[in-house]
Symmetry: C2
Subunit: 374 residues, 2 copies
């Protein structure tokens, strides 16, 4: 939890809002699991419901045109464990990983545990030539890129949705340079207008592992996610995954999906986040100075706000905090950040609707003051 | 779950018996957690109850004389994840790990993920000279032992309790040869007469990480364990532990400990397992031929049964299965097993008391027949 005081509006938090978490359904699921299956759900192997969940995920991946013959599902502790296991398989000290900039900060930390060679491409530019230059250069330097990590839809932190064309480009480049793709789909169920296709659905070559999670659609604290891709790889990942899974919580998630109308829950979530995104956008238009820029949100949790370079990021954060609003500075989302990237992430997922508007107002006022004073 | 048919008595399973799992208390804990803390328990950081659990574990380690200034607690996914993280820190392809033979089979798998150099010492011989010879020889071969993994009390699979003297010897040898000790205490709360001291309590040098778990005392499927040792190491382990913990289940365990009289639960468990161990010993005395040997049980889950070398292990297993009883062959517990180690593990933890006796009877009859026929 971020430090918090009375009146602080925390736009830094990438958490679901409290009512988004179906805690009653989860509690009922555990009660039912315990009644129906007795001790079985509490033992090492967990409940037979785990099989149901894996079958359901397989059907889901099929529905999204992202299941190839020979694929399998591996349950993981959130999407991040999937990335960790792929790093363990594909990276060594010599090889490199290619990631977006900006990207999910925890993913950067995971990659750093495996290699010093982290190279990047611009998240929103969609410049396949630039990506290829990076792949070629890194290989020429003796550090071939073996893994490409991308957030494809409503990416953290930008909210960006990668075009189908660029997804195809990445698959082709992975094939050409013998790299493997880790597709992080953490937010992709939270679309506002229409579901984006998965990058994996464009991959006929089996070079993509899709990493999914229930963190944004049920609750982060469950730590239930999955990896979907070639069974050769999921088997290997499973061998390294020595935490023995999470049988009880997996059973709970399976019961919620079977007995608590998960589809209706997702529809409610989409409507709620769409409304929150719209409110935040309304506030951005209303309160930000014209020098600031952001993308309209199509889903997920975040707005990525660019501000003029004359505004010092450290001072912006400190002054905002004094005014009772917090955000995540842009430099957190870069592996090799300059001191100030003149951008920040605000989340519309957690604070109350009223606070979202008030928080943006406070932040806008601070930026205006700093522009006027600088 | 093992394959099972009507009438198969499964003495292979290292599971708690169904009534040993306080599933009502766990369900109530989740309900209460959800009512008291709302969404907080379901978010990434989990409930404040996690802090309570860590403080409680610290107090517990102090009570067992195993807390040094500068120690810390890291919550893990069972004891096994603790070992995995220590392997990741201490082992590379060149260095070696020293383990008991026989030892916990999953631990062997974890070590194999990190090194080919797995050396052993006899679990029950308590021969410090032999251990030192192994340490010296391995170092001379260019593969210094950096990690020593031991089950110290009611060890899996032997049930053996290491003497205080040998615990001291191991600490001294670790210091002399610059190795680190991973002490697996998975079963040490399940003592029948008196609690054995921890190896860590003899370590004034900070060379031991204690690995604990609630798998045997609450439920395996929770996947809640902890590592206790130097904070320098727990910090590093935490950096590699990229599954972000298991906030919801951690909160449940914390509530069970706070509100459901965990001490009384432990006392009931000890009485139940003591009774089960005694029943199995009674049956061993009654039904095993005089050529078979086993140690009297002082705690934990297992008896380790040695039988004459003329009995073929594969045939013993097949015939026993035909007679409706299953066990774990001894060779599973060795990293470099000969074809047959003339020993097997039977568990008194899972089957009904009636089945424990009947299972041993069936197994004894098969061994007697094979001895008579061979």
């Amino acid at each position: 939890m971020q430090p918090s005081y009375d009146g602080l509006i925390n736009l830094a938090k990438g958490y679901p809002f409290p009512e988004a978490i179906p805690s009653d359904a989860l509690t009922q699921a555990m009660k039912r699991l315990s009644e129906v299956e007795g001790d079985v759900a509490f033992q090492y192997d967990g409940s037979p419901a785990t099989e149901y969940l894996k079958d359901w995920l397989k059907a889901e991946m099929m529905r999204r045109n992202s299941w190839r013959t020979g694929d399998d599902i591996l349950l993981t502790s959130g999407a991040l464990q999937g990335l960790d296991l792929l790093c363990r398989i594909f990276l060594d000290e010599r090889s490199a990983v290619l990631i977006q900039a900006p990207t999910y900060m925890e993913a950067i930390e995971v990659c750093r545990n495996y290699t010093d060679h982290i190279v990047t491409f611009d998240t929103v530019a969609e410049d396949a030539n630039a990506v290829e230059r990076e792949l070629r250069l890194t290989e020429a330097n003796g550090h071939p890129v073996r893994l490409i990590y991308v957030g494809t839809s409503f990416q953290n932190p930008t909210g960006y949705v990668m075009s189908p064309e660029f997804r195809r480009d990445l698959v082709a480049l992975a094939e050409k340079y013998d790299a493997f793709i880790a597709e992080d789909g953490a937010y992709d169920q939270l679309w506002f207008e229409e579901p984006p296709p998965l990058l994996k659905s464009f991959d006929s070559l089996g070079r993509t592992m899709y990493l999914g999670t229930f963190s944004k659609t049920l609750a982060p604290g469950l730590r239930v996610g999955w990896a979907c891709g070639s069974s050769v790889l999921t088997d290997l990942m499973g061998r390294f995954k020595k935490d023995l899974g999470n049988p009880l919580v997996t059973g709970m998630v399976s019961y919620v999906i079977q007995f608590h109308n998960y589809d209706a829950h997702l529809q409610q979530l989409r409507a709620a986040y769409r409304r929150r995104a719209a409110l935040m956008e309304f506030a951005l238009v209303e309160w930000m100075p014209p020098e600031c820029q952001w993308l309209p949100s199509q889903g997920g949790y975040y707005h990525w706000l660019s501000y003029p370079a004359v505004v010092d990021g450290e001072r912006l954060r400190a002054r905002s905090y004094d005014q009772g609003v917090n955000f995540l500075p842009g430099r957190h989302f870069y592996p090799h950040a300059p001191r100030d990237v003149s951008a920040l992430r605000v989340s519309f997922s957690y604070e109350s609707e009223r606070n979202l508007v008030e928080g943006v107002k406070r932040l806008g006022n601070v930026i205006r003051e700093m522009l006027a004073g600088s």
